[in-house]
Symmetry: C2
Subunit: 370 residues, 2 copies
Amino acid sequence: MSEAHVTGPATRLEAKALPRGPTEGPLTSEELQLSARNHSMPLEALRYDITPLGLHYLLIHFDIPIIELADWRLAIGGHVARPIELTLEAIRSRPSVTLPVTLECAGNGRSRLHPRPVSQPWVTEAVGTGLWTGTPLVGLLDEAGLDPDAVEIVFTGADHGLEKGLELDYARSLSIADARREEVLLAYAMNGQPLLPQHGYPLRLLVPGWYGMASVKWLTRIEAVTKPFDGYYQLGNYHYRSGPDDPGQPVRRIRPRALMVPPGFPDFLTRKRSVPAGPCRIEGRAWSGEAPIERVVLGVDGNWIEADLDAPQGPYAWRRWSCGWEAKPGEHILSCRATDASGQSQPLEQNWNWIGVGNNMVQVVPVTVR
Amino acid sequence: MSEAHVTGPATRLEAKALPRGPTEGPLTSEELQLSARNHSMPLEALRYDITPLGLHYLLIHFDIPIIELADWRLAIGGHVARPIELTLEAIRSRPSVTLPVTLECAGNGRSRLHPRPVSQPWVTEAVGTGLWTGTPLVGLLDEAGLDPDAVEIVFTGADHGLEKGLELDYARSLSIADARREEVLLAYAMNGQPLLPQHGYPLRLLVPGWYGMASVKWLTRIEAVTKPFDGYYQLGNYHYRSGPDDPGQPVRRIRPRALMVPPGFPDFLTRKRSVPAGPCRIEGRAWSGEAPIERVVLGVDGNWIEADLDAPQGPYAWRRWSCGWEAKPGEHILSCRATDASGQSQPLEQNWNWIGVGNNMVQVVPVTVR
């Protein structure tokens, strides 16, 4: 066996410095590496009411932790009257709720921003809808008995790593009012099966209507605190910031978005679509964490056509839409745009911010009709 | 609702021309788009004997087809005495075999090549091990009765699209001898569950020991032919070519490779590892489609240490290895290298070819010990 040191091309990739802020420069190998780890949902999976296992998007900040169920406990403590420690079995024996919930990564669409914030480089598919089963958090908070001076609940996961030089476990908080909402679950099953390791096995928080960062995975600790939580993922990240010195506003609920199943069939390399000429039906899904979806329009070369909406699946899941289109030979640009009951519509131009969050610009699908 | 046309930044991305061959240029948005669709296996999942659902790598040439089981049939025909059409139920009633099988994409490692072939830009994780259940193909070939002049069997899937201007269904062939090997299965289950849509539901070919391109998904047709198949994915792709004019040699069996679970914990953005000082145990998996794994060595700053091998799981699945290491503070480069019973070892430098296939250069993991 050769004693040679490994000096091959792989090590060359490590040498380049990362841009220190948003950039118009080329994609970095670090971004590609994140893209390889963090799965997005192939857009044809918009056909399903409930996203099949393995197609739901995944954003994993550090490594997927290996958790042995026999060793695992959920601790509920801090400013409570009666701290609790629970096995998964004990949590499963509590009242259970099953809900279809659409989750989307706050950074969805980031790679298409100009300039581009350097982080997980989502294209447009960081979304999925699971059928989640769990027990309402509020029941366990009541069992523990929150102290009157508690202002927030902090949720800590088992995933551990470095970010911006800080060594930390992933953790986020909710206000007492948000934590007590009836739809907030401690979820142990997805699509009728125990959570897969990558979705937070054995237990995760699920905050319907909010971007995915709120739904802490691999949950180990729930703590009532008397001061607002200042952890990195609460204050140092997940804010709408105009620049490096702007503290910004916190990212919370999912902004409205519609996506379509790209019609026809793709070219392998470019994913450019070919559509047979004639009548066809474009379909997709639309969702908003702010208010129910009220309207979707399909854009064809800049003309907007009213789409039909199917009945909602529930208050926290995407809603199917479809729209007839007479496809005429030539090049066309399709797009779709959702409006929710709060009156919010998707922007036609990028809604840029420093870290590339909440970017719900309309999807654009160029097609060639033959 | 505004009548404005969508002219946002998203459309700008479409404008750049793709490099026409391997490039030292920046990653393209087309490659990023492929990376977002085609999932790789996070390396910490090397801890599992069998890859959990949703973490196995995926390479989907076109779209995941939507197949209704009631409408689906497998047709076995061409140069056979008795053409057959089978429902999934009929296939499931045949003798069944369950095997752990490691699949790897032929293009694994492509993005790290210099110059870089422009296609699915795998980093190093396009692998997974499923527990596959199916019926041996040879039984059905015997039922159909191959004509004596048949030389190959062609397998066609339902996925449809364009590649290099050709409109086609994904299709590959095997020689009669390869198709008749007892381990070649028509698989309908993975990890004890019906195939997920993205893995070929309802039925796929499984060719243990070969790179993934041989294991045709969403199988619809099996045809005995009297001339070697010249389809695009047989002749126009998946060859070891030195340049654009070299027809090259076909890609078949998986070359030996070892990968490690990157030790310690990562930095979110760079994935650079931090390892606590002291004794630790590095673990990983090694596999080869050519011959059983015989040896794995762990490289620490260019010194190779013999790793321990666990008992094999079976002839077609990866084998666990582990190796003690006394981690001393400072920067270190870890690597690992497999050798199989045919005497093949992984190269220390890139084994470059025109389309970036069969690149089994050793993995390199820089770590900081604190």
